[in-house]
Amino acid sequence: MTDKFHGTNGAEKFKSQEVRLDDLYQEVILDHNRRPRNFKKLEDANAYAHGHNPLCGDDYFLYLVVDPSGMIKKVGFEGDGCAISKSSASMMTAAVEGKSVKDANALKDNFIHLLTDNTASETVRAAAGKLKIFEGVKQFPVRVKCATLIWRTLEEALKDRSQRKEEVSTEKE
């Protein structure tokens, strides 16, 4: 409902309920929220970053052990946040462990593309694998940052030490 003088008619826009809560809080997501995997600090980490969302308080520390050949040997995270951010972090750690830095970065790009671009192709969707279940978050625009926070944090942790900020905020992108 847009016209030249009145813009979007909010009343019309908000009247109906089109999104489904089940798409957001899927069983797998809830399970990772209840029992996050790799939820620990790695004392021997050689790459790490801190990610937070100042608007809602999601706050995580990410730890990685990367070997000299560029393979991610171990991943761990700590912190506190909503179900979407925590389950996304848990599933991210499982997804990138054992991958090369290059592949992990590619997976990160793919995930962010999947959640922020409505025209994501089948190839993108297929490449996301298990992480595809986060597609439901797209129906809840304010929650997209929750799902992508840990991936932005990973991006920071994997940067060359010289360029690293070590702290990622959802509000500085």
Partner: protein, 410 residues
């Protein structure tokens, strides 16, 4: 009591178009009133009329329209005086909102009078707006910022506050009502003790102006401020009250038109308060809207507002206490109509999303009070904040939606 007889919440709700809307397929249940309030028709219509038929600039025009707009704005300033029971109309300064009012005092008073080694006291439950302004001033001028603690219920520890007062205490900046806990601070007692120690007191009234009759002379505070949009008026306008003796001595806040007496290329003499603090063209239509909002509130009466909101608070507190795993944060004896809570195993952000799907708008997060969150050992809360237009039926809807939250996160 007369108040209960004349107060008809169903009728009042008819005044608010937003309360007739739907959200995600459900009638909107708006419980984020501590953030901002919905606008009644008299405010919307007054601004509409003013913009359509009466609009022009103020102070400068020789023409009839401008004279009228000036008189209308002056009338609102007088309404503000009555609203706060200030002794002089010139003690009312229009700002963008409470935040700007606090910044104005920190700049125009703080920068001028506070010297290295002086101390400022705030409380542990301040909104960032009444914390960061003082913290930055302290950093700039090498002052000491002291924080008065609260107990586990969220009540200010008066004896601890008193211990902080000393001959170096120049300023006390304190909230009237906590936006997170609902705690009503004993301002009269605070100003009495602070004045005894020779300190100047600013009261952040952003959360008290909407909920209670404020009398700045009775409180005896030196400064008091509130935001228009939290008392059912428009955004972009707020009020700073200051005792004339301070306003006269303070430096201007910003420079420009309307705040000068005489200007040459060499020097400028400034206008008297309030003009001294109101550089540039103000938010004219918003000031008019603020006047309509105050008229509307007077029409209902704070006696009736306090009674209805207190009833809602009691009802909601009881109902929420029965929700399994729910813990209320902030249990002060003197409390305004807002409830912060956490639900075991569910992050407030997730509560907010599930409630939104039921058409219920609550706030989830740190509420611009991160140090307070730390004090209570939490990272965020969910907050339902009530206005006089909310009903017990809406509280019931909140409770059943919370049961749904528990089901999703079983």
């Amino acid at each position: 009591m007369l108040a209960t007889k004349t107060f008809d919440v169903k009728k009042i709700r008819q005044d608010f178009p937003m309360l007739q809307t739907k959200m995600n397929g459900h009638p909107l249940v708006y419980l984020d009133n501590a953030a901002t309030t919905q606008k009644p028709l008299p405010v919307i219509e007054r601004m509409d009329q003013f913009l359509k038929n009466e609009y022009s600039t103020i102070h400068r025009g020789v023409y009839t329209l401008s004279h009228h707009a000036t008189a209308e704005c002056d009338a609102v300033r007088e309404k503000c005086r009555q609203f706060l029971n200030a002794s002089k109309t010139a003690e009312i300064i229009f700002t963008k909102g409470a935040t700007e009012a606090i910044n104005l005092v920190a700049t125009s008073f703080g920068r001028k009078f506070l010297k290295a080694g002086d101390e400022i006291i705030i409380s542990a439950i301040e909104h960032h707006s009444n914390l960061v302004a003082w913290q930055q001033l302290a950093k700039e001028k090498n002052l000491t910022l002291r924080v008065a603690p609260v107990n586990d219920k969220g009540e200010l520890l008066m004896e601890e506050f008193e211990k902080l007062l000393n001959p170096r205490t120049y300023f006390v900046a304190i909230t009237h009502i906590s936006n997170v806990l609902g705690t009503i601070n004993p301002i009269q007692e605070i100003t009495k003790r602070a004045h005894h120690a020779g300190a100047v007191v600013l009261v952040d009234g952003a959360q008290s102006a909407p909920h209670m009759k404020v009398d700045v002379q009775e409180l005896d505070c030196d400064f008091y401020c509130f935001s228009g949009h939290k008392i059912y008026g428009p955004t972009g306008v707020g009020v700073l009250y200051g005792k004339m003796k301070h306003l006269e001595e303070m430096d201007p806040y910003q420079f420009g038109g309307d705040m000068i007496e005489q200007v040459t290329f060499e020097k400028t003499t400034f206008a008297k308060p309030p003009a001294k603090f109101e550089a540039g063209t103000p938010a004219i239509a918003e000031i008019i809207g603020l006047g309509a909002a105050m008229d509307y509130l007077q029409g209902i009466g704070f006696e009736a507002i306090v009674e209805h909101e207190h009833e809602l608070l009691e009802y909601a507190t009881k109902a929420l206490s029965r929700v399994p795993g729910l813990r209320i944060i902030g249990q002060a004896e003197e409390k305004a109509s807002l409830i912060s809570f956490v639900l075991e195993g569910v992050h407030p952000h997730d509560i907010g999303t599930v409630l939104d799907q039921e058409g219920i708008a609550i706030r989830a997060g740190h509420h611009c009070a991160q140090p307070l969150m730390k004090r209570f050992g939490i990272s965020a809360t969910a907050r339902a904040s009530f206005a006089f237009y909310n009903t017990k039926e809406e509280v019931d809807k909140l409770i059943s939606a919370l049961e749904k939250v528990s089901k999703v996160f079983k």
